[in-house]
Amino acid sequence: MNSFLNAERPPVFCPGCTHERITHTLDQAFQDMGLVGHQVVIVSDIGCSGLFDTFFHTHAFHGLHGRALTYAAGLKMARPELKVVVTMGDGGQGIGGAHLLAACRRNLDLTLLILNNFNFGMTGGQFSATTPPDAQLGSGFLNQLERPLDICEVARSAGAPYVMRCSGFRKNLAEEIQRAIAYKGFSVMDIWGICPGRYTKKNRLTTKTIDDALAKLPPLEGMVAENTRPEYGQHYRKIAAVQKKAAKPAVIEAQYEAPQIGRQEVILLGSAGQRIITAGELLCIAGLTAGLKTTQKNEYNITVLRGPSISELILSPEKIDYTGIDMPSVVVALDQEGVDRRGNLFKHLAKDALIIQISGVTLPANKADIHRVDLKAQSIKRTDWALASLAVLAKLEKVLQPEMLEAALKIKFKGKTLTSSLDLIGRVEIGEWA
């Protein structure tokens, strides 16, 4: 078999670095699998382990520190047939911890080789997420204060279906790497090694002490039975294949005439949970059924079920530029929270503006015409008040007409929702002038 190693770019690791051993072992594994270069992509990040992609005749993607698993996920989803091998150090594992957890949970068919040498080699031997507290390193006393992470235990509890912890000097390492690559799912190998350039300058670590330390830990030798499940990519494609095609946006023909000529500005002042935004959308659709241009600008707090909810609607025969409303022709006061939020607008209301005041809401001083409706007394649920207020407007022939609202409901809703909303707008009583 031909070696995958790039003859023009031989490895440049420090003498005795385990990374070099693993470079040759990975080459052996690729050869033994009978692969060719373009079937493989090596995804690496920053640090000495990030040099890996340079030494191989495969596709290569070398990116930011700790983010290799994210690029690998995009590559694998785009090219399911590629063997995606990710090399990262213990440093990359620390900074990219969230991605490791997510990769374990996701179970996309990637192979992660962690070249764990217990410190940041390239930047001067600072402590990493796996450095023992008693090590003497470039971070002074700081590593004494932190507990090292057991990457394999983390990977296993996060759902990785294939986890292996081993020494970089393990006799059959090429075979084990091959087994991990062949596994259909996310496979993690935590490979312990020696960094003579930095770590072993002041710390004793040999093949023997690595073996002894590994022997004290519960063995993890690959498949994790309780985490075995369908591979993400296959699973995704299976479910995606049966998703319903998205509908095209409804095209709304002009078929009615709006009751007033000219621009109408409506503001719905309510609170979260009153379906203010849906009512606003319905009014816009109703406007489209009369051939008008329309905009809907909403304001609400980030909380879903609390706080004011406001919708500003413009219906106009002309193109609408500015979407804000300063002088509405209609104000619908559905809830005190919305009214209080826009308390300022009332004193500027024109004399011929109309306020629909739902019983229970107090209005600031104003000169507008007020029309009162007691929706509670009509046994209409609070969640339907916004829609009911549109029905009141329609029956008063203000801004829209009943057939425009009916058409809007038929465009927006189907089935039971349609029936009940049609029923609602039919039975709403219009209230009285104040």
Binding site: A72, A78, T323
Partner: protein
């Protein structure tokens, strides 16, 4: 007339699909989330891929991987997410990875106000990545722009192999508006140019006069190298200063020398106007109302609505400003793009109106600024 009713975010999603987008990854964030929802609704059933990353860094990382495998990719977020994208944005700039990035801006700084609009990221989009090389930023004004500029954004990302930003705003993205989808003026779809196969492939090789390297996908038969570090045409790390200078200059020139070909804008030039209003984004809507009103009242002004913000379309701005004495720049922030206008037109009087409190700048405020001379 027959219209549909769409919010800006959905129009961006539909524009993306129309441009050939087949990969989206995002992370929920108001006010951009409905782009993700729309893509989830549109893409998987159409054979594309839509993913939710574990964070914004993962979302853009997925996109960069997929783009290098040949897909047309998009992600969408707001200011806090752009902050997290930053390192990967500079990767996409320096390593020439096509990607469309939507920023539905919200009121900052920081987590700011999720449901209030602003145009506070305009300089951040340009300057918020290491290395400081140019990027393309397009700014939609309305739902039509959301659709068509997104298509242009894909074309530019493909043509120039670079990140292209859509600088939207909560007030565009989450505002619903009538749109005539069949009546839009849509561009032809452009895809990245493949590298010639009759010579050994170098991922970053450009011939004389060529500013963008030919592309091959990771996963195809010819080996491709992608690398975030300073690289030579082969995609290997280089320390050769001449080589580095050549590549940095090329990255700069490929966009700066071409901006006249993608200077999207609307100019309303009145011959006898003394004042030129320059603005962009949602604020352009208030400015148009002012422009119409001033014309009606017989005090005409000129109006320039910029839709390509970066690289700065200097030729266009100089040309439109030629005849006016005074320029009023209006932005939904505390004064960002006005710096560019001052830089380009040092001989003109330049006044500024800015506001960043979650409210739209009103036509009345603009009129007041115009009259306040």
């Amino acid at each position: 007339m027959a219209y549909s009713l769409l919010e800006g975010n959905e129009a961006i999603a539909r524009g993306a699909i129309a441009a050939g987008c087949n990969f989206f990854a995002g992370y929920p964030i108001t006010p951009a989330t409905t782009i993700y929802h729309s893509m989830l609704n549109l893409l998987p059933s159409a054979g594309g891929i839509c993913l939710q990353g574990e964070d914004e860094i993962a979302s853009i990382g997925f996109c960069l991987g997929a783009s290098m495998a040949g897909m047309k990719v998009m992600t969408a977020t707001s200011g806090p997410g752009i902050s997290l994208y930053s390192e990967n944005i500079s990767f996409a700039v320096g390593s020439e990875i096509p990607i469309v990035i939507v920023d539905v801006q919200r009121l900052g700084p920081s987590t700011g106000s999720a449901t209030r609009g602003a145009d506070g990221d305009i300089n951040f989009l340009r300057w918020g990545s290491s290395g400081g090389l140019p990027v393309i930023v397009l700014a939609p004004v309305d739902v039509n722009d959301c659709f068509t500029l997104t298509m242009h954004a894909f074309n530019l990302a493909e043509k120039f192999r670079c990140p292209v930003f859509i600088a939207s705003n909560k007030e565009i993205g989450m505002t619903r508006e009538n749109i005539d989808l069949d009546g839009l003026d849509l561009p032809e779809i452009i895809s990245r140019t493949p590298a010639p196969l009759n010579r050994p492939f170098q991922p970053f090789q450009t011939d004389t006069g060529q500013t963008v390297p030919g592309f091959l996908s990771i996963g195809d038969n010819v080996l491709v190298r992608q690398i975030s570090s300073t690289h030579d045409p082969h995609g290997y790390i280089t320390t050769d200063p001449d080589e580095i200078a050549r590549s940095q200059n090329r990255l700069k020139d490929k966009l700066l020398s071409a901006v006249d070909h993608f200077t999207f804008h609307e100019a309303f030039n009145m011959d006898n106007a003394a004042t030129l209003l320059i603005t962009y984004g949602v604020t352009a809507r208030a400015a148009k109302a002012v422009y119409n009103q001033q014309c009606r009242q017989g005090n005409p002004i000129s109006l320039l609505v910029l839709k390509t913000l970066w690289p700065v379309p200097e030729h266009l701005i100089r040309q439109v400003a030629r005849t006016v004495k005074r320029i009023v720049v209006v932005e939904m922030n505390m004064g960002q793009y006005v710096r560019e206008i001052k830089r380009i037109l040092p001989e003109k009087q330049i006044d500024f109106l800015g506001q960043m409190d979650g409210r739209l700048i009103t036509p009345a405020q603009i009129t007041e600024t115009i009259d306040s001379e």
